[in-house]
Symmetry: C2
Subunit: 194 residues, 2 copies
Amino acid sequence: MNLLEQKIVAEGKVLSDSVLKVDSFLNHQIDPKLMKYIGEEFARLFADAGITKILTIESSGIAPSVMAGLSLGVPVVFARKRKSLTLVDNLYSAKVHSFTKNETNEISVSNSYLSEDDVVFVIDDFLANGQAALGLIDIVKQADATLAGVGIVIEKGFQDGGKLIRDQGIRVESLAIIDSLSAGKVTFKEGTTI
Amino acid sequence: MNLLEQKIVAEGKVLSDSVLKVDSFLNHQIDPKLMKYIGEEFARLFADAGITKILTIESSGIAPSVMAGLSLGVPVVFARKRKSLTLVDNLYSAKVHSFTKNETNEISVSNSYLSEDDVVFVIDDFLANGQAALGLIDIVKQADATLAGVGIVIEKGFQDGGKLIRDQGIRVESLAIIDSLSAGKVTFKEGTTI
């Protein structure tokens, strides 16, 4: 098991067969040292991809993305989930449905920070049904930028988001892939240890 | 001028006498290297404060906080602006009005991640009228934790938040203090260069 998988086993809370709560180190409390490890892993995996920019979504995608951006030496752009008064015109946007929160948000990115010259690395904390990642990928397309791939901290391998995105020929690297949350136990997919 | 002030002068956009937009490196696009500098500065200023935890608020507080947490070797907790389905019970909460967005949010922190044993360093991106920082300070009080102080990336020195908090005897360290945004120009308070 890698450091992330060890942390999931030690601190993750299995709330149901489909819900894993990792509020102690990723989604509410953040472990900066673990984020550094995650950022460095993403940077290592995509070292040769010519990345110029990381695109993520607020809020839980920000910490791993900033650490990856530090390692890769590139800026991070985070999509906002709704408009603020100081960020209105010239937006790329996409609709994203969250099954966890049971709501649909419009996510948006200013066109000042993504262009056709960019090679974009999309990062998110979780990949389940893939809605957030697909929204971010759509924004990369709107900018006519090149998509280098998708980096995921924790993928729920038993949901269809990973397959949906990989079937489009997009490279997806997940640092932990969970095969099952049955019986209150986390089982990882074989061969995910890095 | 310190690195942050140089970046503000180079990339900040003065939208009015009271609004400074720093979306190119802090609030939408993030400069990870600058965040590392900011985190290290916060860590240096509060090195002897015995900090056990950093408390911030989503989303723009997260990047500088995670870098400060990495330097200080402590976890970061970010207050959420509304409840999610996987974060409901046992919350500390406070109401925070945002004049920029013209809305009032309830911010909340799980009581699992702040306790009376904690020495808490509150970090936020901007200090203007002080509403967000005061909400976070209120949450520290609800947890019976010790407040080490407040770290701010950019303080609008011409608004009253800084005075409100310092008048309570709370240590506030702002890495850039803006004296005025008149005539489309950023003027820093003397002596803020570090």
